[in-house]
Symmetry: C2
Subunit: 97 residues, 2 copies
């Protein structure tokens, strides 16, 4: 299992819109081959900061399958305009436990 | 449930030592009141970067209970010297799903 993780900095005035649009976008990612689960977490200390965690079968499920899918354009259109700056997305492998 | 999350930047030459010391330190955190689970995840793109995720009953379980416990000094002594720079730790609440 691969963990995709990204801190999302959302424009402060747009957090309600972002959460609404994320709920609309979630079925796009969760229908992808190799998708396992996701969580959108909101920061307690910095309320316009979020942590997106997505479990995938492999890195390619995310970078090739999802980003190369026809439906990715809709995900991008729903969500990317809320970010400032645009987030860095990384992949992680569990080492403990 | 509260998620504690921290990106850990470990000195590049110390990743093996860090992972060994983390395994020694893990029983300290997992014995705390309010601890639920933890994962140490290693970054695929930047191998000296880690993501520590800890589930707690409340923020205070972490910030008061754990950090105020007598055993916290041993956690700190095992791990903090591996970090450069010292990490920012934040708390998150799940908003989706």
């Amino acid at each position: 299992m691969i963990l995709e993780a990204a801190y999302l900095s959302v424009r402060p005035e747009a957090t309600e819109d972002f959460e609404r649009d994320f709920a609309l976008a979630a079925p796009i990612i969760s229908s992808m081959d190799g998708y396992r689960w996701h969580q959108l977490q909101r920061c307690h200390e910095v309320p316009n900061r979020y942590l997106l965690l997505v479990g995938w079968d492999s890195i390619e499920s995310h970078t090739v399958g999802f980003r190369g899918s026809p439906d990715y354009a809709r995900w991008r259109d729903l969500l990317h305009h809320h970010y400032d700056p645009f987030p860095t997305v990384e992949h992680f492998v569990r080492v403990h436990p």
